[in-house]
């Protein structure tokens, strides 16, 4: 039963990711007073790219070739392990925070390697920027999840979800402050403005994407949308688990999944509105914002140590 839920989760998240990014694009268009493209535009783009033939840069090697499937696969794997519909991980092995953090770091690592592997000079700069975001954000996310692990008494996301859902996670204020820090860190991880523009593959930000074409580019584009959805789901799963099923019972799981869909839609809508009300920041000044997240995350750690 739980294995089926895990597979369904992964398939549904991957299938719904282009829709989520399509809706975000539509909101942006509406806020810019444009009509905008259809919400299904991302599916059309992916279908078109999938039919195109693949062109490789001369001199690029194995890393460039395996980067797209690894990128998409890692996030699909995280999606399978998250406690979305239930207050427990469908596959406990995949629900450990250390596994999740490494699975989030792996695509970034491969992405940066691919950037160096490519012959273009733009791609390398894009790769460096991608790494910079990782270096600035990941410590906060680790700190937040560490606080949650101590508060819930386990590094398993399912047990954390249960502890938060039943309001038994002990230092109450520490958990709330960690939730605020996690929301900020997840927002940056989602690659939204003012930090990044996820669909700007022709620009310097998503530099490595410039070297791909055809099915590889489709996989990476899909991977970027899945990443947004997975990161938002991680936040929803850990800090807003209310309404998720307590036991693997079909009806409760269905209700839990519907509630999860509502919650994640709300989170994505808020993120889309924030994204459109700010402008892109220069990479030089990125540290200013991430310091704030580090500060809040360390405050939650201090509250945890103090015990409030």
């Amino acid at each position: 039963m739980t294995i089926i839920i895990a597979i369904l989760q992964a398939v549904l998240l991957v299938a719904a990711a282009p829709l989520a990014s399509g809706v975000a694009r539509k909101i942006r268009a509406k806020m810019h007073s444009r009509t905008g493209t259809s919400v299904l535009q991302d599916y059309y783009d992916l279908a078109k790219l999938w039919r195109r033939c693949e062109v490789r840069e001369g001199g690029s090697g194995l890393v460039s070739r395996i980067a797209p499937p690894v990128f998409l696969g890692s996030f699909a794997l995280i999606a399978a392990g998250l406690p979305l519909a239930m207050q427990a991980c469908p596959i406990p092995l995949l629900g450990d925070i250390i596994t999740v953090l490494y699975l989030m770091a792996l695509p970034r690592f491969i992405f940066s390697l691919a950037a160096i592997d490519s012959a273009g000079s733009y791609t390398a700069i894009g790769g460096i920027r991608e790494l910079l975001v990782g270096v600035l954000v990941e410590p906060s996310l680790m700190l937040v999840l560490f606080v949650m692990a101590v508060a819930a008494g386990s590094t398993n996301l399912g047990i954390m979800t249960q502890a938060v859902g039943t309001l038994t996670a002990y230092p109450f204020v520490a958990v709330v402050v960690a939730g605020v820090a996690c929301a900020m860190a997840c927002y940056i991880e989602m690659g939204k403005l003012p930090f990044d523009l996820a669909e700007a593959e022709q620009e310097i930000q998503e530099g490595p994407l410039a070297a791909y074409s055809g099915p590889s580019l489709a996989m990476l584009k899909l991977g970027v949308s899945v990443k947004q959805l997975v990161v938002a789901s991680l936040f929803v799963a850990v800090f807003l688990p209310f309404g998720a099923a307590q036991a693997p019972d079909a009806g409760a799981v269905l209700i839990g999944f519907l509630l999860y869909a509502v919650k994640v839609t709300a989170v994505l809508l808020v993120a889309a509105v924030i994204e459109n009300s700010v402008m892109r920041v220069r990479y030089k000044y990125l540290g200013r914002y991430t310091w704030f997240v580090v500060g809040i995350a360390s405050l939650s750690l201090v509250f945890l140590v103090i015990g409030i």
Binding site: F172, Y289, G295, L301, I306, I308
Partner: protein, 218 residues
């Protein structure tokens, strides 16, 4: 959730609100946030009163409400109105506000380490709040050191004062009202004097920047 845990949760809210006072961009926002912080302080005093069964603490919370939630922010807002049009009040702080959050977190931790060595029967259950109240001295000091505007430096003093208020309530809940009156009037008069000084300096030197005010002779 009630009893001592509530006191500790409100103590954590004190830290969060005082951080917001330090980070506030405008003097007006800082005054409003200070009022909010004092409201949390009133909550701490009242909940401590309920936990320890001390009638004095209820009186304390009532006087704290009148002086700190209403009077002190009102004086500060009035000063701001007086000097607002003449000189720029909202100067950027010396330290990046984002870094000051991390600094506050470090201060709270250091205070907790310091407090964990204290072994008092009255403070055994509220040690976290005791650490918070001690940390307020350092947060106030941080506010005074990092702020350029002398108007915002007043808030540093007010935060330190709030810290001493909580410490007193935690360690001596049965202390007579007279002691509290001392603390409360102290705050009012100090803020009035500081506000008058700020207003006069603004009128005389045409600036509130502490870096420019280094020639106040005679």
């Amino acid at each position: 959730m009630f009893g001592y845990p509530l006191v500790n949760v409100l103590g954590a809210c004190l830290i969060i609100t005082s951080m917001m006072v330090v980070l506030a961009r405008t003097g007006r926002a800082a005054a409003c946030l200070y009022s909010l912080q004092s409201l949390v302080l009133v909550g701490v005093l009242a909940s401590l009163g309920a936990v320890t069964g001390s009638g004095e603490l209820y009186t304390w919370s009532a006087t704290a409400f009148a002086t700190k939630v209403v009077l002190v922010p009102a004086i500060l807002l009035f000063t701001l109105k007086k000097i607002g049009g003449e000189v720029p009040v909202d100067l950027p702080p010396k330290l990046n506000p984002m870094k000051s959050v991390a600094l506050v977190a470090v201060e709270v931790f250091v205070c907790f380490v310091a407090v964990s060595g204290i072994d008092l029967p009255t403070a055994a259950a509220v040690k976290p709040t005791l650490a918070v109240s001690l940390a307020h001295f350092f947060i106030g000091l941080t506010c005074i050191v990092i702020q350029r505007s002398i108007f915002k430096q007043i808030f540093g003093y007010c935060l330190m004062e709030n810290g001493s208020h909580v410490t007193l309530a935690l360690l001596a809940p049965q202390a007579p009202e007279l002691v509290e009156i001392g603390v409360a009037t102290d705050a009012i008069f100090a803020v009035v004097i500081l506000a008058v000084l700020v207003a006069r300096m603004a009128r005389y030197a045409r600036t509130l920047n502490a870096d420019d005010l280094c020639e106040l002779k005679g």
